[in-house]
């Protein structure tokens, strides 16, 4: 088996009294497509931010390809790409200016940044909109542009937080195929999502997080245990409502 691309040990973070991440351990092998799933507020985004050097943990260690993210953030940032849940783009730049800017920030020469930007825009089906301001992009276009910015320096590990949230099926398919190709080339993807069908479809490994702790991790088959991932997830995390009987008028022809 290949060596771990991402190693997390005892990672924890509290916001005031609330413990968002309660000491997680995680190993993601190189060349794996791993899904991080969990209910809202489970600690997915907080964990990803700490793994990418953007949120200081209260304790624990994160290693990317053997580099300690918090001891040598510069070296770590050079080999990772990040697609955040919320858009973090410069919306007064055009699509092509944005990608060139991202490439230059990551140290690519100007010509190379421009050339890779154009290729990414083409693959992401954004060439026709490359001169439009990002402010005028739709949600799907923004997600694709964010992915382009995260990939332009060819990172070996990619972190994505809800990459397909609000994205139409066509754009989602483009992103999915691109990520699959990226992983097949030996790179590593760790992405968080609520969409179990998607995780089941594309991920070879799954990690379920709830209340800041990892409650299951392994290959998708192992975590599913013969059920659908949705059912396995609900069984592990537990249903959160059960008050549906309280709306007797809903769905009937009575007013």
């Amino acid at each position: 088996m290949s060596t771990p691309a991402i190693v997390v040990r005892g990672l924890r973070k509290s916001f005031g009294q609330k413990q968002a991440v309660a000491g997680i351990d995680l190993d993601v092998e190189a060349g794996c497509f791993t899904g991080l799933v969990g209910p809202n507020g489970a600690g997915k985004t907080t964990s990803l931010l700490m793994m990418t050097g953007l949120l200081r943990p209260d304790g624990g260690m994160v290693g990317i390809n053997g580099i300690d993210v918090w001891a040598d953030p510069r070296a770590a940032k050079a080999i990772i790409g990040v697609v955040p849940a919320e858009s973090q783009l410069f919306d007064r730049l055009s699509g092509e200016e944005l990608l060139e800017y991202a490439g230059r920030l990551h140290g690519l020469p100007a010509g190379e940044a421009r050339s890779r930007g154009a290729q990414l825009l083409s693959v992401l089906d954004l060439t026709a909109d490359s001169k439009r301001l990002v402010a005028d992009f739709s949600t799907g276009m923004r997600k694709k542009a964010t992915l382009g910015c995260a990939l332009i320096h060819n990172p070996s590990v990619l972190f994505l937080d809800e990459p397909l949230e609000g994205v139409d099926p066509i754009s989602a398919d483009v992103i999915r195929r691109m990520l699959t190709r990226y992983v097949q080339s030996g790179s590593t993807v760790l992405f968080s999502s609520h969409v179990m069908e998607l995780v089941e479809q594309v991920c070879d490994h799954v990690c379920i997080i709830d209340k800041g702790q990892i409650v299951a991790a392994g290959t998708t088959e192992q975590v599913r245990g013969g059920k659908t991932l949705q059912q396995a997830f609900v069984d592990l995390v537990g249903p959160r409502t059960g008050q549906e009987e309280g709306l007797p008028w809903l769905g009937s022809s009575s007013s």
Partner: protein, 528 residues
């Protein structure tokens, strides 16, 4: 429907009192200001009693109020949930009762009441006799109804545009003329009045233009009724009511259309040029290119530069034609340069979530130095030409264009100090910014007003201290030959300014290196 929407408006007003302390305080302050406006307007209009130009001045006051109603809803679009017809478009409502309801909701609240009470000053200032007072009351009510209908018509006609990014950009530019007018009224008007260049007689004849527009009709109707011409007065009131009726009809039509029309946010603009300028000049050039593009394309940046220009003119206005011109213009240019620092003393918060894409790439001190350097170069590329224009322009107005060299020298030194100080404040005291929905301007997020004030006054103080050596040098060399003095002072000031900016960016980069995750957290909490 009218009752329901009035209740909705009242509920929203009452909810403001239950919201956060800041919202509560701003609501109370707003209500107090409305009360002061009501009393102030009442007394100003009442004081016109017996003056020859009373009707002219009343016409002017009524016209100013109508403009207020026209402009303010555009600026605060989105603050009042009942303003945007799209918010109600999902409900099965007919247009006419909806229109009447929206009109009634508009007339509810402290500000409309303040308008009615304030304008009732005409019953004292302009009206004579019972007929005059009755016509005055009717005229005020019709005038306020006209203002509300006008505001509703304009906001409904523009609602589709204002929901779009381009529309909001356009609305943002309204801030600039309003700021200029505000400065004009608090600086220029009192000055002119003190010098007896502005008095009641200045308004005589003004209403030759505005007597036939609705506010003028209202004022003249009162005048006519008070001088025994009741028939003409009523005719004017009927005409005012008819204009309001036509506006109402147009509004109902545009409301019907707005409820079923998509906004224009899909109309995107194209950008010329294929690449980032100066991106080939390393990280510094790349960051400078991004900041320079933002100075051009971001309305708030353009507004900042516009405000700086207005500040420089207003600050020197009183003295530019007096023997004290030199000190006045130097102060104005120094203040303009310092304002550049004030506006960028929180560059991480102002950049907002976009800083996240920079934070995932930048880490080392050397890269952060390049980042701040690029930012400063971009601001200097706009700031120096602007300072040069006003240095020589104001000195030319003063009749001493050559002294523009001195002003520019001080301006460049102050700009260098402002950029350096703003870099440091951006790192040591960053805070998230927010833009309320529909508001064109951004401000410190709730709970960060203290840091915002510290950044503002800290920047002004820092620049003030840093330029003291330049002011001393200008003073000490006042008797030297201009041919020698000007170039030496200019060169020294430029070097001094560059050194200050350089020192500021180095300190900021050193401070930012260990704090990058914290700066990132501030940036992503900004809601721009």
């Amino acid at each position: 429907m009218a009752r329901l929407l009035v209740q909705l408006k009242l509920r929203m007003l009452l909810n403001a009192l239950r919201a956060s302390t800041r919202a509560k305080v701003s609501f109370i302050i707003s209500t107090i200001i409305a009360g002061l406006l009501a009393m102030g307007t009442f007394f100003i209009l009442a004081l016109l009693r017996g003056q020859a130009a009373a009707v002219d001045e009343t016409s002017v006051v009524l016209t100013v109020f109508a403009f207020g109603w026209l402009i303010l809803p555009i600026l605060v679009f989105g603050l009042d949930g009942t303003l945007d017809p799209a918010a109600l478009s999902l409900y099965p409502l007919r247009t006419r009762p909806l229109a009447i309801g929206l009109l009634a909701a508009s007339a509810t609240g402290a500000w409309p009441l303040a308008n009615v009470i304030g304008l009732m000053g005409v019953t004292v200032g302009l009206a004579r006799g019972a007929a005059g007072v009755i016509v005055a009351v009717l005229a005020v009510l019709l005038q306020v109804l006209f203002c509300i209908t006008l505001a509703r018509f304009v906001i409904t006609a523009l609602a589709g545009l204002l929901r779009s990014r381009r529309g909001r950009d356009l609305a943002a530019f309204l801030v600039l003329p309003i700021f200029a007018l505000y400065e004009f009224f608090i600086q220029v008007v009192p000055n002119a009045a003190a010098q007896h260049r502005l008095g009641a007689a200045s308004f005589a004849g003004v209403d030759r233009w505005i007597r036939w527009v609705p506010p003028g009709l209202a004022a003249h109707a009162i005048q006519d009724a008070s001088t025994g011409r009741l028939g003409t007065a009523l005719l004017r009131l009927v005409l005012l009511a008819a204009v309001t009726g036509v506006l109402g009809w147009l509004w109902i039509r545009s409301l019907g259309r707005a409820l079923v029309t998509a906004d224009t946010s899909t109309q995107a603009s194209q950008v010329r040029g294929a690449a980032l300028p100066f991106a080939r000049y390393g990280l510094t050039g790349t960051v400078a290119a991004r900041f320079l593009i933002y100075q051009r394309r971001e309305p708030t940046s353009l507004i900042y530069w516009g405000i700086i220009a207005v500040v420089m003119v207003v600050a020197s206005f009183r003295v530019v034609t007096t023997p004290a011109y030199l000190g006045g213009v130097l102060f104005a240019i120094g203040l303009g340069a310092a304002m550049t620092g004030v506006f960028h003393a929180n560059s991480v918060g102002v950049t907002g979530p976009g800083f996240g894409s920079e934070a995932v790439a930048l880490t080392a001190r050397r890269e952060l130095r390049a980042y701040f350097c690029g930012q400063n170069i971009a601001l200097a590329m706009v700031g120096i030409p602007l300072l040069a224009l006003f240095s020589f322009g104001l000195m030319a107005v003063a009749g001493h264009p050559v002294d523009g060299v001195l002003a520019l020298a001080l301006g460049i030194a102050a700009l260098g100090a402002a950029l350096g100080v703003s870099n440091i404040f951006s790192v040591v005291a960053p805070y998230p910014m927010e833009r309320r929905i529909g508001s064109p301007v951004r401000r410190a997020a709730e709970g960060y007003v203290g840091q915002s004030l510290a950044g503002t006054f800290g920047s002004l103080l820092g620049v003030g201290v840093c330029v003291i050596p330049v002011v001393v040098a200008v003073e000490l060399t006042s008797s030297a030959t201009a041919v020698v003095r000007m170039p030496v002072l200019a060169a020294a000031a430029v070097v001094y300014g560059i050194m200050l900016a350089w020192a500021g960016q180095r300190i900021a980069a050193s401070a930012a290196e260990p704090r990058l995750p914290e700066l990132f957290q501030v940036a992503i909490r900004s809601k721009l």
